[in-house]
Amino acid sequence: MDVNWLDANYLPWLIPVPPLISFMLIILFTGRNKVLSHSIGVGSVVLSFLMAFGVFLKATGTDDFGPNAYGDSIKWMDVGLSEFRMGVLVDPLTAVMLFMVPIAILMIFVYSVGYMGAYPDDDPHKIRYSRFFAYLSLFAGGMLTLVVADNLLLMFMGWEIMGLCSYLLIGFLFEKKSAQQAAVKAFMTTRVADVLMLVGIGYLYAEAGTLSFRDILYNAEVLERLGNSDLTGYLGLSAASIIGLLLVIGTIGKSAQFPLHAWLPDAMEGPTPVSAMIHAAAMVSAGVYAVIRMFPLLEAGGNPHHAEYTAPLILMGVIGSITALGAAILGVGQNDIKRVLAYSTISQLGFMVAALGIGAYVAAAFHLITHAFFKALLFMSSGAVIHAMEHGEHAAEHGHDEHHAHHDEHAHDAHAHGHSSYTWADLNAKIEHGIEAGHLQPGERTPYGADYVGPNGELPDDAEWKTSIPQGLKPDFVAKPNNIALMGGLINKIPVTAYAMLAGSASLVGFPLITAGFWSKDEIIADAMTFITNSGQFEGHSPWLHMLVFFSLVIAATFTAFYTTRMWLLTFWGKPRSAMAEHATLMNHVDEEELAQAQTPLKRFWLQYSNSALMQGPLVVLAFFAIFAGFVGIHGDFPVLEWFTGSHNFFHEFVGPSLLHEPATIPFKIWPVLVSVLAFSIGAGFAYLVYGVPRDSYEKDPVQNMVGDPVWQALKDRFGFDTLYLATFYRGFEWFGRVFSYRKVDKETIDGILETVAVVFNNIGEAIKRFNHVIIDGVGDGIPQLIGLSGRWFRNLQSGRVQQYLLFTAVMLLAIGLFFVLRVL
């Protein structure tokens, strides 16, 4: 095979490969060496980044790239007379993803080196340090596979590999019951959607005979045939609608949309870089990316710009609106910094899904990109905050000296054991230490909460499944280092993080004109608002979905501004509200002696600040994109700025041609901009009024006073969805499996019937045996017995006494004579 691997046509094949190889290398070979492992991980992502950037440059440099998208494929499956081809495709949508994803992933990897490195040696984070980078690599490989895939099946492979990685990473601290359960919850909830999506993919393959994006989505004839509702009879929907519904359900699971959103807040059990990976660069974006990718199929047979909504579009519009608004409201009631961000993620994804429901293809893609940057930034910032708080917690409770002594002891242990500092004794000591200190609660942030009995213990009589929610997953549980009520004043402790997070928050709330989030959110709202600004386009149809989306999103945007501002102010503003916040820092644990030995200032700096730099460096890079990434997508006719943009909306003009029929830009109107600014001002302004005034304590939140305790409790309980699902689906399914399927059906009914049959046959056998015994054996054995018996009896006759013989003879003669006499008569 004559392949020039430097040819740009082959480059897309190679993009996902380095992280996948990195995964294998770390798992199989380098697991023991932490530095080598993270070097391989970061190196592989750098390679992918360079290749992806090359592809991106080539794509943006090509005129009229949409119709000239390129790809390559190999034969993957022979079935019947046709074949299934797997391959890669680079079109404008892929190209922008290839810009965003590798940058975000690279930043997450660099950050992870600092984040994971900052844990003490005996912490499970540090013990499984190499494995973390292996999982992260696999995750990156899966995401990049998904992005470059040229068909739905390969995309689904990347999709599911990420599902597995998120399971492994959320459950990274698998000692914790809460982490285990959160991991299972995430995997199972998304699997509900995935299996239906799988059917959708199968149906699409059966109908279209191919799964290639280009052959289906860029092919008017196929789209028309699938969109024709006369051909299939199911519920009066077209094949495209049914497939579309199933695919959208897949996204509802993956992107945590209502009603399958409940897994995402719990996914915060994973280490923070994982949250960034899941919520920003990869997994949840993948869900939205999938529907953006499949958009032509979803709208086949309809036209949202004329308010002819197809079933998948309605599903997206309605679900997206509910999710955007509901999650934004829930975001207000959270005190865990990561959960605030989790709800904001759900909400923002709702924005994108809703936007797609009304056909705002480019706007949804644009928001996907900007959101990925600022949300990765926010999560990584929150990780830095939590780290600083954890350090502060440690320092506050033990004092610096004691801490250092403790640390030295461990370092000494490590040397004593030679290869690893990790022993069972260490771990148990840590557990006991934590319990004594009182800040470790069983089943919480400790390795407690198991429900097994070991090799020798006594098993409980009945196999009751323990389904109680572990402490860490209780809706109103907030871990101390994550609690924004206990923070405050951190802007003085970790200023770089504070300003980076300010940039991210500003982008999230859509701070007018200078943030990326403003431009992308504004574009969605402008699209939704066309029912006012450009009602002519609907040609008399009722644009009810546009209205629904518009009002939900505007209200959601207001709430977003409120809770984000609240979060930032509570974290960084005012003065420290706890000893942890007082002592918060990102500096390394370094002992003085080592510091004194350092030769150069650079080395001294690195000893003290390496983790701090590794964590905060990526924040600065992402902050840049969180602010400036939006300028590529400004409406061409925006007042004043049109002088700079030359009346071009670069993003729209580049991404739009991914579709066969390039979506038209809507004419510029000032109203949507004003609405966006108004939503921001109300939300953020109100939050500043409430939280801008420094307080000593937030034991009782001001909002709680305003809305009343029941509402506040409902917010903290996440409107009760988790409890409801646990009580209905989980327990119902569990009953069905354990009691109905296994005990009632298999054991009692089927085996019962079998046993009855066995008993019947056994009895028949017994009966035959007895028959043998009595009749056949009786006859068989009876004849010889009878002969013997009669022989014995006759022997008695031969007594040898003549008198007796005479008597017998006389009797016989009498009898015979009597016989003849009777005959004659």
């Binding site: 022979d78 492979m157 698998f174 069972w424 429900d451 070991g454 098993l459 409980p460 196999a463």
Partner: protein
């Protein structure tokens, strides 16, 4: 050399038997000798099987679609020949058998009592399994079918767990009960076909059966005094009961829900090597029987509509029943697996779940094969074809297709049977998308065969791992485990990998075949496929339960103590070597299934296209 190649299938059957005898004759007091001799004897089979696989991949089949056929007179008195041959489907199974046998032998090394006997039994079992897959004569088929039972009975009965007597008895009696009907049906068909062919006695040649038996009763010029009857009973009824005999025998073996309850017991009580072969290969015999025998012999019985309890609205076909049972296997198997506290039983139930997909794929084959058969020139019954495809002739069809048919009558009942045929043909051509249905059926059956192979790999690997843990920990109770990942990192990694393959993670083997079956079956059985997704969902639940309950959790001090002072829990080198080929194949098949699919597809396509006019 030429004679060896033409005898290669005989070699594959007889070599393991020779191996078994050799091992059995070795001195009992030298178990190590027996171990290595047994392993050594199984390697040539593997090498030859790989060669055979490539020969089938690259060679051209005969007109009947088989490779390397070999016929020799064997039992002329009863008309049985030694007739063997392979096609793409059977060679896949032969490869699976030859691959799993050495691995099972390697695992059976762990037995210290009567070591050489269990090794010999495993080799003997291999003979029976290969024999079933390559037999093209029904007497031969049945012989090997029964031979497969005996060694497995003894393996469970002698080396099994605490409840082994019950489990082995249940396994043996259940399968024997199924075989009884099969044996009777084989005799019946053999004599009838011989009769029809004008032979002097019965014939048991499978290819002859395929040609003759389905047509019997449809032709007018039948021999005998009473045409249309056999032994005074109508052919329809005879064929129906013969069909039931076949159906139940193979359904028990797969096992199709609700004939499955022998499986959890047998799998759980069998020693590890036995479970591996039981799940890996023995279950495939049933599915293979369906593909090779039931569907080609009984298309009419399988797919023509019947009424339930004589209520005319309650129409069903056996193909639908089969798909429904497949669905129940998928769903209920997953639920029952989830309910287990015994890890091995959990894995055993997962076989019910996974084989449910195979059943569903085979049901699709049943529908489409029957439609093609009814349309073939020999049968030429478009009305039946239409019914088999799930449609019927309605009165309004006359009006709809009046232009093409020029029929004047207003209702179906007024038409002559020829007119009905003409109308049905027009409707078939107009409303049945031949290409699409053909493609879907191809996808489904390819998927079913691939799923048989994939399940062979992943189920064997799962049982291997469960056995590896049980052998050291002496318990399989999930409530006792937990926190083992700290102690056994290598085992943990392998366990997660294999579990994920079993779960159907894309990129690993199980996904490809499950997706193919879902895709191929959806156009035929939409609702059932949708309900089956509950089973797919629950697959995740029980797999994750296994991982969570075994590996996750804080390090358990009791197990650490056990690990350090009693017995290492980590997987041994021998077991790692045994599982390595399975792991490699699971990954390779997941990433590039086309190393095996063309071979399967050749035969699958041949099956469906045999009737194309």
């Amino acid at each position: 050399m030429g004679s060896f190649i033409s005898n290669v299938l005989n070699f594959l059957i007889l070599w393991p038997a020779i191996g078994a005898i050799v091992v059995a004759l070795l001195p009992s007091n030298q178990p190590n000798l027996a171990r290595w001799v047994a392993l050594g004897m199984s390697i040539p089979s593997l090498i030859i099987s790989i060669g055979l696989f490539y020969a089938v991949m690259n060679g051209d089949p005969t007109a009947s679609g088989y490779h390397l056929e070999y016929v020799s007179e064997w039992f002329p008195e009863i008309g049985a020949n030694w007739h063997v041959g392979v096609d793409g489907i059977s060679v896949t199974m032969v490869l699976l058998t030859a691959l799993l046998t050495p691995i099972a032998l390697l695992i059976a090394f762990e037995h210290t009592e009567n070591t050489k006997v269990i090794l010999a039994l495993i080799l003997f079992l291999q003979m029976g399994l290969v024999g079933v897959f390559v037999a093209l004569d029904m007497v031969l088929f049945f012989l090997f079918w029964e031979i497969g039972l005996v060694p497995m009975y003894f393996i469970i009965n002698q080396w099994g767990g605490a409840n082994r007597k019950y489990a082995s008895m249940k396994f043996f009696i259940y399968t024997m009960a199924g075989s009884l009907g099969l044996l009777l049906a084989i005799q019946l068909i053999g004599f009838t076909v011989g009769d029809v062919k004008g032979l002097n006695g019965p014939t048991f040649d499978i290819q002859t059966w395929h040609e003759v038996w389905p047509q019997i009763g449809r032709e007018t010029n039948l021999p005998g005094e009473n045409p249309g009857e056999i032994l005074g009973v109508s052919y329809t009824a005879v064929k129906y009961y013969a069909f039931l005999g076949f159906f139940i025998a193979f359904a028990i073996k797969i096992p199709v829900w609700p004939f499955h309850t022998w499986l959890p017991d047998a799998h759980t009580e069998a020693p590890t090597a036995g479970s591996m072969l039981l799940a890996g290969v023995l279950l495939k015999l049933g599915a293979y029987g369906f593909i090779r025998l039931v569907i080609p012999l009984f298309p009419e019985e399988l797919a023509s509509p019947r009424t339930l309890l004589s209520v005319s609205d309650l129409n069903f076909t056996f193909a639908q029943v089969m798909a429904g049972l497949g669905m129940l296997g998928i769903v209920m198997g997953a639920f029952s697996a989830w309910a287990q506290d015994d890890l091995k039983k959990l894995v055993a139930y997962s076989s019910v779940n996974h084989m449910g997909f195979v059943v569903m794929g085979i049901a699709v084959m049943g529908v489409w094969y029957s439609v093609m058969w009814a349309q073939s020139p020999d049968v030429n019954d478009p009305v039946l074809a239409l019914q088999m495809a799930g449609q019927g002739l309605e009165d309004e069809d006359i009006a709809k297709y009046r232009d093409q048919t020029q029929l004047q009558a207003a209702t179906i009942d007024e038409l002559t049977s020829d007119d009905q045929k003409a109308l049905a043909q027009v409707k078939l051509d107009a409303e049945l998308d031949m290409d699409e249905n053909m493609q879907s059926a191809n996808v489904a059956l390819n998927g079913a065969v691939l799923q048989m192979f994939n399940h062979g790999l992943s189920a064997a690997a799962m049982f291997l791992l469960v056995g590896a843990l049980y052998h050291k920990a002496h318990t399989r109770d999930l409530r006792r485990f937990g926190g083992l990942w700290h102690i056994v990192p290598v085992f943990g990694g392998l366990f997660v990998f294999t579990s994920m393959a079993s779960l159907g993670l894309p990129g690993l083997n199980g996904f490809t075949s499950e997706w193919m079956i879902v895709s191929g079956a959806f156009p035929y059985f939409e609702v059932m496929v949708l309900i089956s997704t509950i089973g797919l969902l629950l697959t995740g639940a029980y797999i994750l339960k296994g991982i969570q309950k075994v590996l996750q959790g804080p390090p358990n001090p009791d197990w650490i103590e056990y690990h350090e002072h009693h017995h290492s829990l980590e997987i041994s080198y021998r077991e790692t070597i045994a599982i390595a080929p399975l792991v490699a194949l699971m990954l390779i098949t997941g990433l590039y299934p086309n190393w095996i699919l063309p071979v399967i597809n050749e035969r699958v396509y041949h099956i469906f296209s045999a009737f194309i006019r």
